[in-house]
C-alpha cells in the first residue's frame, strides 16, 4: 500500500507502507544506529516521534521477545529505506511489520532516507505526518501544522507508569553483561522515577544489587523519602524537560537527601532543579556511536544516545557543580556531578540496548555512592 510522509516545510516523500495502516503525526528525527531497531522502537523516549533510520536495510533479523525496552513499540511512526519482510536470525520470532501492525505503528519504506536526514540536519527536527490514506499533500500539510510542537510538550506524563511497581529481575539471556550480583540482590533499596524508563536500566540496576520500586513521574517527594530508599534514580524519557514542572519540583525537594543518579531526561530535570537551563538541539543526538570524553579519567566512551534537548553547562554554578562528561562531536554537556552532595547524572545511555557497553561503570559508581552514603 502507498504511504506518504509530509514534513511541515512542505517536503513530501512517497513510499510503500509496512506495519499498520492509518495516519500519525510526530517530530521527525533520525537515528544512526546500525543495529537495534527493536530496542529503539520500544524506547519510551521516542514517544511522539517519527523515527527514521539512517542505515538503509531494516528488518533483516526480525523481532524477538528479548530485545524489548518496554512492553510495546512507542514511536509515532517508523521510516526506512528498505524494509526486509524476510527475517533471518536464530532468535527471530517473526517479521518487523507483522509485529508493528497490531500495535498500530505505521512504517514507510522505499523513500530516500538520506535526503530526509539531510533536510533534518540542515533545517532541524520538525513535525511530520505519515499517512496511508489517499490524501493530497495540502490536506496532509494542514494536519501536520495542527499537530503539537515538541518544545513545551510534557510527554513523560503520557508514558510513565500509573501505579508504583516492584522490579528485581536481571537479564537472564546469554547476552547479559557482568556483573550479575545474585547472592545479595536486595542490597540497595532504590526508588526509580519513571519518566519513560527503559527496561535495561532496571535490569542493570538490579544486576548491581538494587531492589527497585518504580514510581510514576508525578510521585510526591515526601512519599519517596517515606520509603527510606538507599538511592533515587531519575530515568530517561521523552519531550521537553522544562515542561515537566512537577518533576523538577519533586527533584528539588530530594536534592542532597539521598544518593541520586540521573540519565537523559533525568539528567536534564536535575539540572533544572539545580537552577540550570536546558535548550533544544537542532537535530538532537540519536545513535550508538557518539564519542564522549570522561573529563575525570580522560577516557573516551562510545555511547548510546537519544535526546533532542541538552543542558547548558554555563548555567550551572561551577562552585557546586563539576562537569564530568562532554560530547566530542559538538562539545555539548554529557554529564555532571555535585561537588559536595552525593549525586551525578549523564545525558547518554549507560544501559546501552541498543549500543556499546562502554559506560556500564556508571551503575557501579551509583552502587558505590550508595554504599558510602
Amino acid at each position: 500500500m502507498k504511504a506518504k510522509l509530509v514534513l511541515e516545510n512542505g517536503v513530501e516523500f512517497t513510499g510503500e507502507s509496512f506495519g499498520a495502516e492509518g495516519e500519525t503525526t510526530g517530530e521527525v528525527v533520525f537515528n544512526t544506529s546500525l543495529t537495534g531497531y527493536q530496542e529503539i522502537l520500544t524506547d519510551p523516549s521516542y514517544a511522539g516521534q517519527i523515527v527514521t533510520m539512517t542505515y538503509p536495510l531494516i528488518g533483516n533479523y526480525g523481532v524477538n521477545a528479548e530485545d524489548l525496552e518496554s512492553v510495546r513499540p512507542q514511536v509515532a511512526g517508523f521510516v526506512v529505506k528498505e524494509y526486509s519482510e524476510f527475517p533471518s536470525n536464530f532468535r527471530s520470532t517473526g517479521s518487523l511489520g507483522d509485529w508493528l501492525a497490531p500495535h498500530s505503528i505505521i512504517g514507510i519504506e522505499g523513500i530516500d532516507t538520506r535526503k530526509l536526514t539531510k533536510i533534518i540536519r540542515t533545517v532541524g527536527a520538525m513535525r511530520g505526518i505519515l499517512s496511508t490514506a489517499d490524501l493530497t499533500t495540502a490536506e496532509l500539510l494542514a494536519r501536520v501544522k495542527r499537530s503539537p510542537e515538541m518544545t513545551g510538550l510534557d510527554l513523560a506524563a503520557k508514558v510513565t507508569t500509573h501505579e508504583p511497581y516492584h522490579w528485581n529481575s536481571i537479564d537472564r539471556t546469554p547476552f547479559a553483561l557482568q556483573p550479575q550480583i545474585t547472592n545479595d540482590p536486595g542490597r540497595y533499596k532504590v526508588v526509580v522515577y519513571d519518566y519513560g524508563v527503559k527496561h535495561n536500566i532496571l535490569r542493570r540496576l538490579a544486576s548491581y544489587g538494587c531492589d527497585l520500586t518504580v514510581v510514576p513521574a508525578s510521585f510526591p517527594a515526601e512519599d519517596v523519602l517515606a520509603m527510606k530508599p538507599d538511592g533515587i534514580f531519575l530515568s530517561n524519557g521523552p519531550g521537553d524537560p522544562a515542561a515537566v514542572r512537577y518533576g523538577i519540583a519533586n527533584i528539588g525537594k530530594l536534592i542532597g537527601k539521598r544518593p541520586m543518579f540521573g540519565i537523559c531526561l533525568g539528567h536534564q530535570l536535575l539540572a533544572l532543579a539545580l537552577g540550570g537551563k536546558t535548550f533544544k538541539l537542532k537535530f538532537g543526538h540519536r545513535g550508538a556511536n557518539h564519542p564522549v570524553k570522561n573529563l575525570r579519567t580522560g577516557a573516551i566512551e562510545i555511547t548510546s544516545q537519544n535526546h533532542g534537548f541538552a543542558v547548558d553547562p554555563n548555567a550551572l554554578d561551577p562552585k557546586s557543580i563539576e562537569i564530568t562528561h562532554v560530547n566530542l562531536n559538538d562539545h555539548t554537556n554529557e554529564g555532571f556531578r555535585h561537588r559536595t552532595l552525593p549525586m551525578f547524572t549523564v545525558q547518554y545511555h549507560p544501559e546501552a540496548s541498543p549500543g556499546p557497553h562502554d559506560s556500564d561503570y556508571l551503575f557501579a559508581d551509583f552502587a558505590t555512592l550508595m554504599a558510602s552514603a
Binding site: 539512517t54 529505506k81 536464530f90 532468535r91 538520506r114 547476552f175 556511536n289 564519542p291 573516551i300 541498543p354
Partner: protein, 490 residues
C-alpha cells in the same frame, strides 16, 4: 599524549611481491603510513623489494631500499641507517614475520631499535595459535575445539576424538598456505603431511569443523590510553570453510541483532587488550553457529590486513594512516576525523549504505588447479561497490569485476536462458545447478540466480550452500525483479 620525540627515524617494512593472499592492500597501507609519519617529521626508511609499488616512489620515504624482505637484508639496512624504531604492522604477514625474526635473533636489541605498533609478545600471542587459544581461554571466550600437533601420529589421535570433517591449519603461513579441510582419513593424512611441511615450525592445528557457520570480522583500533573503537563489522556471504579472501563479504553485518553485535564487540575489546596490541588496527574473525548463536573466536591479525583496506574504503576511516599516528604516541581523540575534519577519530563510523566485496579468480591461468574454494586463498583480486541496498552494491560489484558481466546475469552471457527453456530440459538443468552448488566455487553467485529461476526455494539453496537465507532472499528479489522486467512489453 603528544607524539613521541624520543624517536627520530622509523623503518617501515613493505610486503614485497604481489602473490595470491597478499596483494596491493599493503602498498595502500604502507603508503598511508609513510606519508602520515613523514608529515609528523620523522625520517622514514623503507624497505620493499617490489618496485611496482607507490610506496617505493622517491617522495614517500627519506631512504628507500628495494631489497629482499629477509632478516639478513633488513639487518644490513638497520646497521646502515640506525633507525630508532621499526613499524612492522603495515606490510602484511611478510613484514610481521621479518620483524619477529629480527627481534628474536637479537638484531633489534643490538642496534637499539624499538618495535612500535605491536610488540613482540603481542605478535607472538596473536600469531601462535597455541598461545592464542590459551589467551582466549583466559578471558572466557570460546574457540574451536582441537589441538596442535607436530606429527601425523598426534594428528590421528585428535581426529579420533573429534571426528570428521576437520580443518588443518599450518602455523605461521601466508594466506593459509598448506591448509585444508579433510572429510576422511585419506584426505586427512595428505593434508596434515602437506601442512607440516608448509609450516616453518612444522606444526599444524587440527580443529573441529565449523563449516557452514556464519563468519564475521571486526576491525578494531586501540591507542596508548587504552581507548578501543570498532571501525567496521563485516559479514561474509559465504559461510565458514571459504577463506575470507575468497568470500563475498558485506559491510556492515546484516543479520546480527544489537545484543549479538555488542557481545561480539565486547569480545573484540577483550581480545585486543589480552593479546596486548598497544596501538593501531587489528582484525578479529568470529564464527557464529546459525542454529543457536554460539560465538567462537577464529583468529586475530595484529596488523592492518586485506580487510582493513576494505573497511577503510567502506567507512572513510583511514585505518593505516591513523594506526601509524597511534604508533608514535597520539591518541584517538587527538587525531581529526578525515571525513568531518571537525570531530576526532575517537568514534565508531556509522554508514547509510551497504558495501559488497567480490573476489576475482583467474583459474584459466592456473591449469590443473582445483577451483573448489576452501581455507587456502585462491583469488587474485577483488572489486568493492557501495550501494543503498545490498542488491545494488552486489550488482555494482559484479559489474566492477571486469569479467564482462553486467550484473547478476540477464546480460546475454548466461549459460542458459531459463525463460525460453523447454519444460523437458528444466529438470536436467535444475539437477546440474544443484549439483554444482554443493561445492563453493567461483561463479556460484550466478548459479544461485539460475537455481531460483529453475524454481528452487530459499530453504533448498540454504540447505545446499549454508549461505544465510537473508542473502539468498535478496538474490531471489533480484531474480523476481528480472522476471518482472522481462514480462513488460514495450
Amino acid at each position: 599524549m603528544p607524539k613521541r620525540t624520543d624517536i627520530k627515524s622509523i623503518l617501515i617494512i613493505g610486503s614485497g611481491p604481489i602473490v595470491i593472499g597478499q596483494a596491493c592492500e599493503f602498498d595502500y597501507s604502507g603508503t598511508q603510513s609513510c606519508r602520515a609519519l613523514r608529515q609528523e617529521g620523522y625520517r622514514i626508511i623503507l624497505v620493499n623489494s617490489n618496485p611496482a609499488t607507490i610506496m617505493t616512489d622517491p617522495e614517500f620515504a627519506d631512504a628507500t631500499y628495494v631489497e629482499p624482505i629477509t632478516p639478513e637484508f633488513v639487518e644490513r639496512i638497520i646497521e646502515k641507517e640506525r633507525p630508532d624504531a621499526v613499524l612492522p604492522t603495515m606490510g602484511g604477514q611478510t613484514a610481521l614475520n621479518t620483524a619477529v625474526a629480527l627481534a628474536e635473533s637479537g638484531v633489534l636489541e643490538k642496534f637499539g631499535v624499538e618495535l612500535i605498533g605491536a610488540k613482540l609478545d603481542a605478535i607472538r600471542k596473536a600469531e601462535d595459535r597455541e598461545l592464542f587459544k590459551a589467551a582466549m581461554d583466559r578471558i572466557g571466550l570460546q574457540s574451536a575445539r582441537g589441538g596442535f600437533v607436530n606429527s601425523l601420529e598426534e594428528a590421528f589421535k585428535i581426529a579420533e576424538s573429534i571426528g570428521f570433517p576437520l580443518i588443518i591449519r599450518p602455523s605461521f603461513t601466508l594466506g593459509g598456505t598448506g591448509g585444508g579441510t579433510a572429510y576422511n582419513i585419506e584426505e586427512f593424512e595428505e593434508k596434515v603431511v602437506h601442512g607440516l611441511t608448509a609450516s616453518p615450525i612444522h606444526q599444524v592445528l587440527i580443529e573441529e569443523s565449523v563449516i557452514g557457520w556464519k563468519e564475521y570480522e571486526l576491525e578494531v583500533m586501540r591507542d596508548l590510553k587504552d581507548n578501543v573503537v570498532i571501525i567496521c563489522s563485516i559479514e561474509n556471504f559465504d559461510p565458514m570453510g571459504v577463506h575470507t579472501g575468497d568470500s563475498i563479504t558485506v559491510a556492515p553485518a546484516q543479520t546480527l541483532t544489537d545484543k549479538e553485535y555488542q557481545t561480539m564487540r565486547d569480545a573484540a575489546r577483550k581480545i585486543i587488550r589480552e593479546i596486548g596490541v598497544e596501538t593501531g588496527g587489528s582484525n578479529i574473525q568470529f564464527a557464529v553457529n546459525p542454529r543457536d548463536g554460539r560465538l567462537i573466536v577464529i583468529e586475530m591479525n595484529p596488523r592492518v590486513s586485506r580487510s582493513s583496506a576494505l573497511a577503510s574504503k567502506a567507512t572513510g576511516f583511514p585505518i593505516a594512516k591513523i594506526a601509524a599516528r597511534l604508533a608514535v604516541g597520539y591518541t584517538l581523540d587527538e587525531i581529526p576525523n578525515d571525513i568531518t575534519r571537525l570531530t576526532p577519530a575517537s568514534f565508531e563510523p556509522t554508514i547509510d549504505y551497504c558495501v559488497v566485496k567480490i573476489p576475482r579468480w583467474d583459474f584459466e591461468k592456473f591449469k590443473g588447479v582445483d577451483d573448489t574454494l576452501g581455507v587456502q586463498m585462491k583469488s587474485v583480486g577483488e572489486a568493492m561497490a557501495i550501494g543503498r541496498t545490498f542488491k545494488e552494491a552486489l550488482q555494482k560489484a559484479l559489474r566492477s569485476l571486469e569479467q564482462g558481466r553486467f550484473g547478476l546475469g540477464a546480460d546475454g552471457k548466461d549459460p542458459v536462458e531459463v525463460r525460453s527453456l523447454p519444460e523437458t530440459e528444466r529438470a536436467e538443468w535444475r539437477k546440474r545447478v544443484l549439483d554444482r552448488l554443493k561445492k563453493p566455487k567461483p561463479g556460484n553467485i550466478f548459479l544461485l540466480r539460475l537455481g531460483f529461476q529453475l524454481g528452487c526455494t530459499v530453504d533448498e539453496l540454504h540447505a545446499l550452500t549454508a549461505i544465510d537465507p537473508w542473502f539468498l532472499y535478496n538474490i531471489k528479489q533480484l531474480v523476481d525483479f528480472e522476471d518482472e522486467l522481462a514480462s513488460v512489453t514495450i
